[in-house]
Symmetry: C2
């Protein structure tokens, strides 16, 4: 992952965590916070948080803490989520259904706009407000909706083929729920959702 | 999160990523790797990788790289996943079904052993080899199976109550798929699966 404007990716990776914690404080009507408080919530040292945020400018004053609203606003701007990104979801199995109904998308910069499945039995069915489309329409519908982000929730064996179809249709960022790595061109960003990563982090601390 | 044997949690968090990348190399019959190669796979600087691994001893020699098999073995040991941890899954909806069938668990230290749902209609149904149990049996079955790790895949509104039942039953690590934060005692580890974190990391790089 290239560094945009010189900020190391390892720092960029922490920004969504900060935004998430700050949004939770906002929901609790907390107006001001500190690197100590954020650090405790996130298991990151206060010094690291101050250093990370200082990469993007001056967000708080020594001793007075951070304005929650201001920091939420700035992080949304930095992470490019002051807009809403439309997402295509490929794979309308159990996982696809669950994600299409996930309650965590609201006000965080994303909405699922298209759902695809290769099974003709599923085509035309609804998930909430969405109608399942035939996967063969990926190359037509994704550019037509100007979509650049996709989630892959197909079985492991089909994930690589789907990724290639998505990239050919103009997708530049893929969130991959299948356990296998994807081979894509350099300019396509891929992230994995892999529960084992978080489970192994916790077992480190268990006897 | 407390530091065990003085290693900062921020480093511990990266170890499962290293293990995942190394296991993929192992599957490709690669015997030796470098911090450069791992760094490219993971978007982490080679210097950071060397520094992280050096916290746990000497794993490679300057210039000759790391033995993949040896490093996999050591990381499994450090992360406590040379054994298999039984997991309880609460919530047998679409997401619970998808996770119970996830193909990424094999040989990574975990197996789902119990599945619960509060819906009496679902109790007794099968997901693969598992039989869905009534959630009221959490406090009986979890200690009986000596289970300490759970995944929560219930709707957001029910997650806190389920977390409390799990903790009362002896669970010390929870992987939470619901979008809300959980309030648990200090000695219980909680991690979230939240796709927005990864999506926001990618939109940072998109125009």
């Amino acid at each position: 992952m290239e560094a945009k404007s010189g900020v190391p990716d390892i720092i960029v990776r922490r920004l969504p965590q900060y935004l998430r914690a700050l949004t939770q404080l906002q929901a609790q009507h907390v107006h001001s916070t500190s690197s100590q408080e954020l650090g405790e919530k996130l298991g990151i040292s206060p010094a690291q948080i101050r250093k990370d945020l200082s990469q993007f400018g001056e967000f708080g004053k020594q001793g007075t803490g951070y304005s929650v609203n201001y920091l939420v606003d700035k992080l949304q701007e930095i992470l490019n989520v002051k807009r809403v990104w439309d997402i295509a979801l490929v794979g309308a199995g159990n996982l696809g259904h669950a994600i299409a109904r996930y309650q965590g998308f609201t006000n965080r910069g994303f909405q699922i706009r298209l759902v695809f499945d290769q099974d003709p039995e599923k085509t035309g069915e609804r998930i909430g407000d969405l109608i399942i489309q035939d996967s063969r329409k990926i190359k037509e519908l994704i550019p037509a909706h100007n979509i650049h982000i996709a989630m892959i929730t197909v079985p492991a064996s089909a994930a690589q083929k789907v990724a290639e179809e998505l990239v050919a249709a103009g997708v530049r960022a893929i969130l991959n729920y299948s356990p296998n790595p994807l081979s894509v061109p350099d300019w396509v960003h891929v992230e994995h959702i892999d529960p084992i990563i978080q489970l192994q982090h916790m077992t480190y601390y268990l006897e």
